[in-house]
Point group: C2
Chain length 348, copies 2
């Protein structure tokens, strides 16, 4: 057992993963079924050691194929289930692979609906081998309720007019840009994919409601005055199902800065089209008002827009319009420079 | 097994309890340790069959003392743990009583931190006897996420400027007043004590955050157009720890009417005195704004104030001030008539 594994087993407050990863693709037949694996390859290449494919697999990440034993010999930390098969279940023919990974001394990391500990015999084998079965969906036990106590250090939270509007990737890109400027920064993951990308975090949507804000407080602890935590947002204050999660995360994160994420092509909540999405102005105002409860100095510092399918002229016009309406820099995290946003963040 | 027990075992969506209750007081030495039992006696006398006290108990509810077997012989449905001992644990010397209750065919209902199924042998005994161990803290499994779909029937939700301001008792009193007027009404319990008082409900604070609004939707299903659900509020939008729970409940309940509960003696959040409570105006505005997401017709119909310790002149002045500021009837649910509120509710 190496040091990172000991750190893992001692950490009772956030989910912590042991890297590098061997990415398991199962029998994925199309790339979209292995979205998690592709996301890890693209956003955390330094954590990805290789791929493991069953014979029927038709997908490749372009990483070296290796067995669990080979991965362990090269310093691998975890076998990560990077595929979401139809039905979301752990397949019968995966079990030999999972057992081989445990035998080789790898942790197993899964975001599947089925729990790894429900695979017959796997938990006992893992215990005997001294490795961990990590269901990323499960938050740690013993989370506290919120206190609202002001913590040291700076925090930014990404928020949205709907779910699935780039809150995770916006936060990752901002964290990277700050790092390149020499600013000390941590990306704080709040969902499964984010946790796998950075190797630690808390699955906020799976926390019991009474502990939402407390979990967010644990996730971004006291830090040096010039340190930034970039917190991955979840849900939306305007989503009839998930606004409670969003509010708990907002209150517990007590952000100094928020970035509003939006898709100009969307006018209705994607999963509930009876509900309109709010205007940028209404959304910004609602987040600032709610966030002021735990941080009266909260401010909007930027707008993150999805402009992928626009031609260049439309993109420029769309960003300019958002800037003019909200008075802060607008950007597409995958298409345009972040410098104006970062300048605005640091100019507090 | 009688019909109510069968109903219980088939109901997978809300917690349902079998009455009447035998109230277990353990070794309570002062009334406040048996608060739950006193609450049940006062608010649900028709559900309370008797009391069971250990020899060292110094408290009485004034109900007949009886053994589990005697309670069962008189039609008893459940032994309800009505005492909260120091530390909140199930004591060693309770176990014979719990076993005797199961033996007699009673369900056991507990809101303790320890789970009843962790008492050695009790779960197996209950299964053999065909009775239920009900930890009221535990929500049912399989709750859905919210849909925001507009449901038929009318709903009122009690909300507050802080936690523990009479939201439960206000809702109970309103439900009783409507019933007396011949209106069809259900009290919808969202916390342990409320669930025990009416025999069913959902412990909202224990639901996983992603399912908060969905749970609230399940709790108050479609009903006849003139039927009222009176939903017990939880937490406060202004509490840094619990606002997420409150918002999920508000969105899922989609109330037509809210009653704002407040204690004029309180100016700081009780458990977090660094945080001020909002003014009545600010609080009403925030609840109406947030609630409009799932019910644009939401309106404030009354203000419920705690005036217990005021003299009559101060009470009258305080209620008049609140009425004048918010333009709706103000009342103390334990001290003043509800008629103006009920008139306002029904005058939609």
């Amino acid at each position: 057992m190496n040091l990172s594994s000991i750190t893992h087993s001692c950490n009772t407050t956030v989910v912590t993963l042991r890297s590098p990863y061997l990415l398991f693709l199962g029998e994925a037949d199309i790339d979209s079924r292995a979205k998690t694996a592709f996301g890890l390859r693209d956003w955390a290449p330094e954590r990805c050691l290789g791929q493991l494919r069953l014979p029927a697999c038709k997908v490749t990440l372009g990483l070296p194929d290796m067995t669990p034993a080979e991965a362990a010999a090269r310093g691998g930390g975890s076998l990560v289930v990077g595929v979401a098969p139809k039905g979301g279940r752990i397949a019968e023919n995966w079990i030999p692979v999972l057992r081989a990974a445990v035998d080789a001394g790898l942790d197993i990391v899964s975001g599947m609906h089925d729990s790894l500990s429900d695979v017959p015999g796997l938990a006992a084998l893992a215990q005997a081998r001294g490795v961990h079965l990590v269901d990323v969906r499960n938050p740690p036990t013993g989370l506290p309720t919120g206190t609202g106590r002001k913590r040291s250090g700076k925090r930014l939270l990404t928020v949205g007019t709907d779910c699935a509007l780039g809150k995770k990737y916006t936060a990752l890109v901002i964290a990277n840009a700050l790092r390149e400027r020499g600013i000390r920064v941590d990306f704080r993951a709040t969902g499964q994919t984010g946790i796998m990308i950075v190797g630690s975090g808390l699955p906020m949507d799976a926390v019991v409601a009474d502990f939402s804000a407390g979990a967010a407080e644990v996730l971004s602890p006291d830090a040096d005055a010039d340190h930034w935590d970039i917190v991955e947002g979840q849900g939306s204050l305007f989503h009839p199902a998930y606004a409670g999660v969003t509010l708990g995360l907002l209150h517990g994160s007590q952000p100094d800065a928020i970035v509003l994420c939006h898709d100009p092509a969307i006018t209705r909540i994607k999963s509930l089209p009876d509900f309109p999405t709010p205007s940028l102005e209404v959304a910004a105002q609602a987040y600032l008002q709610a966030g002021a409860l735990t941080n009266p100095d909260i401010r909007l510092v930027g707008v993150s827009l999805i402009t992928e399918k626009m031609d260049e002229a439309t993109r420029r016009r769309t960003l300019a319009d958002a800037e003019q309406r909200l008075g802060v820099p607008a950007f597409d995290p995958l298409k345009t420079p972040l410098q104006p946003l970062i300048d605005r963040m640091l100019a507090a």
